[in-house]
C-alpha cells in the first residue's frame, strides 16, 4: 500500500488488488476521517479528497494508515475479500437481462463455449459494484466468471445503446445511456440504472450487490 500525493487537497491510496480497494473504500465510508470530503474508488486506488480547513494531508495519512492496521486488509494469505470487506451501506440490485446482445456469439467463440453457457455463467456469478466511472452511473461490476474474461474489442463502437449489458476484462456493466464503448455486448436490460429525475439517480453504487436474472425465461427455453 502506498499513499501518493495528489495536490494539496487529496491523497491517492494505491493498493495491490481490487479486493483491497473495495475493503478500503468500505472502511473509509464507515469510518470517515475528519475533513474527508470525497472518496473515489477505482481499479487499484482510492482517491481521498480532503478539506484543508479541517485536516491536512499528513494527519490524514496517519489516520488512513491506522484504518489499514485494524482489521488487516485482505491479502494473498488472508481470508477472501468478501469476508473481511467492511461493506458500505449499499442496496442490492436485480438486473433483468435479455441475453440477445450482438456480441454474444463472438464471446462464446472466444471463450470456447456455447452462448447458453456464457449466459449461465453470467447469471450464476455473485456480482458486486467495485467502482463507477467512464460516465455518470456507469458501474464497474466485479465477480465476472473468470472464463468470461476477454480483452476489450479491438475497435470500440461509436454508439452503444442504453441498457446494454456488457463484459470486458474482469468486469461486467450496464451502459446507462447511449455512448461510445469498447465492451462486448451480451444482452440488454430495461432497468434504468441512471435517471436524473429519480432519487437516487444512480442504482449501481460502489459496494452494491448485483444479481443478473433472465428477463424472459420462456425465450431462453426455445
Amino acid at each position: 500500500m502506498r499513499m501518493l500525493t495528489c495536490g494539496a487537497d487529496a491523497l491517492l491510496v494505491e493498493v495491490a488488488t481490487l479486493d483491497q480497494v473495495e475493503w478500503l473504500y468500505g472502511r473509509l465510508c464507515q469510518d470517515r476521517p475528519r475533513g474527508v470530503v470525497e472518496v473515489v474508488p477505482a481499479a487499484r486506488t482510492v482517491l481521498v479528497g480532503l478539506d484543508r480547513r479541517r485536516t491536512d494531508p499528513a494527519r490524514l495519512r496517519g489516520e488512513i494508515a491506522s484504518l489499514l492496521d485494524s482489521p488487516a486488509p485482505p491479502g494473498t494469505s488472508g481470508p477472501p475479500a468478501a469476508a473481511t470487506r467492511a461493506s458500505a451501506p449499499a442496496p442490492s440490485v436485480t438486473v433483468p437481462v435479455r441475453y440477445d446482445g450482438p456480441d454474444l456469439a463472438e464471446v462464446a467463440t472466444l471463450a470456447g463455449m456455447t452462448p447458453a453457457e456464457v449466459i449461465q455463467r453470467h447469471l450464476r456469478s455473485p456480482h458486486r459494484v467495485a467502482f463507477c466511472g467512464f460516465a455518470p452511473g456507469f458501474a464497474y461490476i466485479t465477480g465476472l466468471d473468470p472464463a468470461l474474461r476477454l480483452p476489450r474489442r479491438a475497435t470500440p463502437r461509436t454508439r452503444v445503446p442504453p441498457g446494454s449489458v456488457a463484459i470486458a476484462d474482469e468486469f461486467t456493466g450496464v451502459y446507462p445511456r447511449s455512448s461510445p464503448g469498447g465492451w462486448h455486448l451480451i444482452g440488454r436490460t430495461d432497468l434504468v440504472v441512471f435517471d436524473l429525475d429519480r432519487d437516487p439517480a444512480a442504482l449501481l453504487t460502489p459496494g452494491s450487490a448485483v444479481s443478473f436474472v433472465e428477463a424472459d425465461p420462456a425465450r431462453a427455453r426455445r
Binding site: 495528489c6 494539496a8 487537497d9 463507477c132 467512464f134 460516465a135 439517480a201
Partner: protein
Amino acid sequence: MTAPRATPEPPAGHLDVLAAGPLATIQDLGRPGLAHLGITRSGAADRRSLALANRLVGNRPHAAGIEITYGGLVVRFARAALIALTGAPCPLHLTGRPVGMDAPIDVRAGALLRVGPPDRGLRTYLAVRGGVDVPAVLGSRSRDTLAGIGPAPLAAGVTLALGRESADPPVVDLAPQARYPLTPTLRVVPGPRDDWFTDDSLARLWACDYEVTARSDRVGVRLSGPALRRRITAELPSEGIVTGGIQVPADGQPLIFLADHPVTGGYPVAGVVVAEDIPLAAQCRPGERVRFQRYRP
C-alpha cells in the same frame, strides 16, 4: 468598500438571451461529493471570479450565474436588476452606455447588456442579484459539458428566470482585480505519478513554456510543447482525477484538468496545479503560454 447600499429588493424577473457568443453556460459551485457515482463536480471553471460576482450583488456563494466564454453575450433584462461581471475583462455596454467590470451595476427594466470580447483572459462571469433560477440537477445548476448534465448551454431566444434567493445587501462597491499575466506561472505539486516520467521530461516540464491550444475547453487546458516521455510504459489502471491534475496522454502533450474533468482516467498525472492557481489556468486562452513551478505545500 462603503456602507451597505440601500438597494430596494427588485421583484424576481427574467432575462432574455439575444446572443450567447461562443459558449455561455449556467454555473454555480457544482456537485461536490458525487465522483464515486461517476459524476464530476463541474461548476464555474474560475470559481474565484464567480464567487466575487455573487458577492458584489449580495448573493450567497452557491448562487448560479452565467459563465461567458470569450464574450459575445447579449441579454435583455425584463425587470430592474442588480448585476456584476467579473473574470476576463470585457468591454460592457448597458443600452449603449459603457459600464465597468468588478462592480455592482443597477440595471433598469428593459435594459440591454452587451458583453464584448475580453482584452485578456477567457471566461467572464455575470451574476444577477437573486441568482439564475433554473431547476437544480443533483443539487446544482451547473452545466457539466462532458456528461451533458444540467441546464443546456445558452442560445439566442432562451429566457432565464431570476431567483429571489439573495443573502444580504451587497457591501462591496468595487473590487478591482489584477490584470491577468500574459504568461501565467502555475504552482504544481508533483505527483501522484511523476515517477512514471523520465527525469529529463520532468526537467522540461518545470523549465519550458507550454502553449495553450484551441482544443482546450471546460474539461481541460490542452497544451503543446516539449513532450513528456514515460519511464514506466505499463498501462495505468484507471484512477481518480482531481481538478488541476496535469495528465499526460500517449502523445506526451500535457493537459490541465478543469471543472468538467472525467472522474477517472487511465493516463498518468505528473502533478497537480494548486487550487489557488486554477482560476489562472481557467483564464488561459489559445495561443497564450503557461509555465509550471514546482511547489511543495
